[in-house]
């Protein structure tokens, strides 16, 4: 095996093996577990760095393994995948640090971190998949490994949330499987390729291809929480905060969005999909989701639920970008994968901090929280402003590219959608900020778990991750046009996807 | 003549089988079944299969009959003492 074959495997193994070892660790071995977690996360980052350099230089990494004659598990590393991988790897590190702090005295930590690592492995696999078959395998593995995390608390409510989550994702998985087998039957393979593979079929297959597209998008759309397939996401909020953070900011919903990107660009090909009139309906669904999610978020008193509906809305920005035919929209969508990730994880970290430190779960309890926890609230504010698309934040960058894309694609209505959504974002985030910063401190907090020590409003492990991600949000927005930013990488991807079509 | 013999034997086989299944009393059914086994060994003789006839005679008339009667007796006794 060459290093080009080994590296993708090593990327998977760097979270899989520690995960499996952690399962076997006794509950009390906190030190060993923490070391393994951090070591794995850092090792993974190292591997990611090596791969990033290689991919930027045009190196091809990949490995194949036949499970059945004509059916291969195939991994490859490409620019699009790297973007998702990098995002996941970086956020995994932060979330791990955060989770170590968050679960300090909670039971079943071995199980939690074991499944957590499996979850990250599945995410990596999704990003590395070189064909739809492989994609599907990791996609389902992700479902399975997240279920124990969602129900981790073992309460009836957690069970209900977990059951809803599984019902949605398994039904979605079934649709996805049906589409994949069908496509495999027609084409004989399901390899991802620039400009797509479906176009190889003659026009007489157009009808079948449309149904398959519907099945595939319905399948990944469940995880991407496109309306009307979004019902699981707010329910799954019963999970512990690090799970909500990683799952909803990165792993699950992004896996769905990433799948849509892969299907549109590398299975159907944007041009071919456009010729089948598939992109316009997709854009419509994305638009409806954006508005519906934001609208529903307005009425949520539960902080995490409000964030969840916000996620529903924001992830569809990516879908909208993909569905806006043309490279500019693509760049907007792709960059939002990263930007939404770091912003949303910041928000969830902060929500977790409020809950863990002061017992605040509801928006109505947020009065004065900013004075008690200024740093957390600062990070929260940055994330919220980013969501609204305020200047100098990462959100602004994605939103700008999306609007440009809509203009280029002559879909002016999409611009209105984006603006309306921004207004709604402001409408549900600003009241929180107002309460946190400007309302007086109440006499007692709902449940104060962690006392203040000097400038440290809560434990260090809880405080640092959101501060870092908030800083990243600002950095990605401020220095968007320099090199080695998410935006630059998104441009590289768009260049490769629209090969020969003249990237901007 | 042999045809009439065969036919009569076949009919008595069928009749005893039918009564075995249909008779309301269990002991009667068992006795009929033993008779059925006996008729079977006659049938095997008519089919020129003395090996099977021997086996049927030994098993059907001897062992199976005894097993069934014994089982019947036990069931009766249990019911009697119960």
């Amino acid at each position: 095996m060459t290093s080009h074959e080994l590296l993708p495997l090593a990327l998977l193994a760097s979270s899989l093996l520690p995960g499996l070892i952690i399962f076997g660790l006794p509950e009390a071995w906190v030190g060993v577990r923490t070391f393994l977690n951090l070591f794995a996360a850092i090792a993974k980052l190292g591997l990611v760095a090596m791969l990033l350099a290689g991919v930027a230089a045009g190196e091809a990494y990949g490995v194949r393994y036949a499970v059945l004659p004509g059916l291969e598990l195939a991994l490859k590393v490409d620019a699009l995948g790297m973007m998702f991988i990098t995002l996941s790897a970086v956020l995994w590190l932060f979330t791990t640090v955060y989770a170590i702090g968050y679960l300090e005295n909670a039971p079943h930590r071995s199980r939690f971190f074991g499944f957590f690592s499996l979850c990250v492995t599945a995410t990596m696999g999704i990003a590395l998949a070189a064909n739809l078959f492989t994609f599907f395998i990791f996609y389902e593995l992700l479902t399975l490994s997240t279920f124990p995390l969602v129900v981790h608390r073992g309460t009836d409510k957690a069970m209900k949330g977990g059951t809803v989550y599984l019902a949605y994702t398994l039904i979605g998985g079934t649709a996805l499987l049906a589409g994949i087998v069908w496509l495999h039957h027609l084409l004989g393979h399901t390899e991802f390729a620039h400009a797509g593979i479906a176009a190889a079929l003659g026009p007489e297959y157009a009808g079948q291809l449309k149904i398959i597209f519907l099945l595939l998008i319905a399948g990944v759309g469940v995880k991407a929480a496109i309306v009307p397939l979004h019902g699981w996401l707010p329910q799954a909020m019963v999970a512990p905060a690090p799970v909500s953070a990683l799952l909803h900011a990165v792993a699950v919903v992004k896996a769905g969005a990433f799948g849509i990107v892969r299907i549109v660009y590398e299975v159907y090909g944007a041009e071919f999909a456009q010729s089948l009139n598939l992109l316009y309906p997709l854009a419509l669904f994305a638009a409806v989701t954006i508005l519906w999610g934001s609208f529903r978020a307005l009425f949520q008193n539960d902080l995490k639920k409000r964030l969840a509906y916000s996620t529903v809305s924001q992830v569809s920005y990516i879908v909208l970008g993909v569905a806006l035919f043309g490279p500019i929209g693509t760049i907007g969508g792709l960059v939002h994968i990263v930007h939404q990730g770091i912003m949303k994880i910041t928000l969830f970290f902060c929500a977790g901090n409020y809950a863990e430190t002061l017992g605040i779960h509801k928006v109505s309890e947020m009065d004065g929280a900013g004075r008690r926890m200024p740093l957390t609230t600062l990070a929260f504010s940055i994330g919220a402003l980013g969501m609204m698309g305020a200047p100098l934040t990462a959100g602004a960058v994605s939103k700008a590219w999306l609007i440009d894309g809509a203009t280029a694609a002559h879909m002016e209505w999409a611009i209105w959608v984006l603006w309306t959504s921004s207004l709604l974002n402001a409408a549900y985030f600003l009241p929180i900020l107002w309460r946190a910063w400007l309302r007086p401190v109440p006499a007692t907090w709902p449940e104060e778990h962690i006392a203040r020590r000097g400038w440290r409003e809560t434990t260090l492990l809880l405080l640092l991750p959101p501060l870092f991600t908030a800083a990243a949000t600002l950095a990605a927005g401020t220095f968007a046009d320099s090199e080695a930013t998410p935006l630059a990488w998104a441009k590289l991807i768009a260049e490769r996807e629209y090969v020969g079509k003249g990237a901007p | 003549m042999t045809f009439v013999f065969d036919l009569l034997l076949a009919l008595s086989l069928l009749w005893s089988a039918w009564r075995t299944l249909a008779t309301p009393r269990l002991d009667r059914a068992i006795v009929l079944f033993i008779i059925f086994g006996l008729l079977m060994s006659l049938a095997w003789a008519r089919l020129a299969a003395p090996d099977i006839g021997l086996a049927e005679a030994a098993i059907g008339a001897g062992l199976t009959g005894a097993l069934l009667l014994d089982a019947y007796g036990v069931l009766l006794r249990r019911r009697g003492t119960a």
């Binding site: - | 008779i35 060994s41 006839g53 021997l54 005679a57 008339a61 009766l76």
Partner: protein, 90 residues
Amino acid sequence: MTTLMQAVALFLLANLVLALVVAARGPTPADRMLMALLIGTTGTGILVLLAQTMHLPALVDVALVLALLAAIGGIAFARRAWQDVEGEHD
């Protein structure tokens, strides 16, 4: 001669059928068992006749075994199955 033997065999079989009808109806369990024994004896007779008419001397062995083992059924009946629990006797 063969014809006569066949006729006798047929007659015995008819006789057997007659006994069979009684066995199915017989008033007491003991009668039925007696019928079964009679049928066994008749069967033995038929078998030795068949041995002659079918030129299968081995059928005599069958008759022998049948005669030997017919007793078992009767004794099993008398020793095990015939119970005075149901009061079905005359």
